[in-house]
Symmetry: C2
Subunit: 219 residues, 2 copies
């Protein structure tokens, strides 16, 4: 599997190592002519690109929710000045939710992701695959845990599938911090219809803070 | 996400509806000349193709395990005749485990899948993403449940990540039927190193038998 699942998943690494580092490693500059190097910024830019912006695959509900949350990231004061609002938008280059989502928004101990699954994520006829839902939950809660306390690893993921998610529908994936105990971070998550009225999936996740150098050293 | 994840996941549907039906639906025969129609069998064959066969991306451990299980699918009698062995190989067109695996093998109440994750499934640096592991577990246990009692939906998936899986390593994903109670099928699953000595992941899964027509009708 997974050229594009890979695209989604490998972004997780960018929480820890900057994309620029990978670009350097995979691009032998010694082989590049001066003329090509001039063209590099457009082809191999190390400047991060935010992939969670509107594109032609988004449905109207994706757009509506995107605008709903975006409008709360900045508010206007009485004096006509703009200042930071209650929600904060996390651009896709800070985390692994690229391509498939309308952004992740952070507010106090809550994190919300707008998600619309296409037909390639089909599991049961006409509905999203349970593994794809688990992947999204792991990614949103893992992003949340990482923001709260740095690099983490998933220790447990317990997913209850209450109602299947129709392909193409826009859902909200919302994670909430339950508690932190030493290295442990307990997070709850629910997937609901776009207005929150229908519960599709509930989950709990346990993450452990890790020392990334340990992992890289194979310790 | 997910052109290729989609390839993996959409195969789940082929457990229920034959691929030929989808080919017909997506191919407007009215626009096809006689000459093109003659060429159809090679380009748009409705004959299922088994994707879980050795290819250049497989490592030596994948090949060894593939041969290990394959050799137990047929045994030779004293009279020199071949007969069915203790394991049964499930070709990929019967289920959703395409492209990424060395086949799924069935033996009594056990089902085993040989799996080697490439770099595109990276989560934590150098290791497989928790969501990809959950997806594989959901798929293997779901395939197993479907073989045991027809179409099912995942109701619960509880995954404990014991030890991260290094990218490129070959692991065994083994599911075992725990019990069946009416519409409920309880299955356990573990992911181990190729010789079974190291436990990477443990999980339990609960599936519910479903009436697919119900799902298709949106009931």
């Amino acid at each position: 599997m997974a050229r594009s699942l890979g695209r989604l998943l490998k972004g997780f690494r960018s929480l820890i190592s900057p994309p620029a580092m990978r670009t350097q490693l995979s691009y032998p500059t010694a082989c590049v002519s001066v003329r090509t190097m001039v063209a590099l910024p457009s082809l191999f830019s190390s400047k991060p690109r935010d992939f969670s912006l509107p594109n032609s695959s988004w449905g109207s509900e994706m757009m509506r929710l995107y605008e709903h949350y975006n409008s709360q990231c900045e508010v206007e004061t009485e004096g006509g000045e703009t200042q930071r609002g209650p929600w904060q938008r996390l651009p896709s280059y800070n985390r692994s939710l690229k391509y498939a989502t309308g952004g992740v928004y952070l507010k106090e101990q809550r994190c919300v992701c707008i998600f619309q699954a296409g037909h390639l994520l089909e599991g049961p006829p006409g509905h999203v695959h349970g593994g794809a839902i688990a992947t999204m939950i792991d990614t949103v809660t893992g992003t949340h845990a990482t923001i709260l306390s740095g690099p983490v690893m998933t220790a447990n993921l317990n997913v209850n599938y209450r109602s299947p998610i129709p392909l193409g529908s826009t859902v909200l994936i919302e994670s909430t911090l339950d508690t932190q105990e030493g290295r442990k971070i307990f997070i709850s998550c629910k997937v609901t219809s776009n207005n929150g009225s229908k519960l599709h999936t509930e989950a709990t996740a346990l993450f452990l803070s890790i020392n990334v150098s340990h992992l890289l050293g194979g310790g």
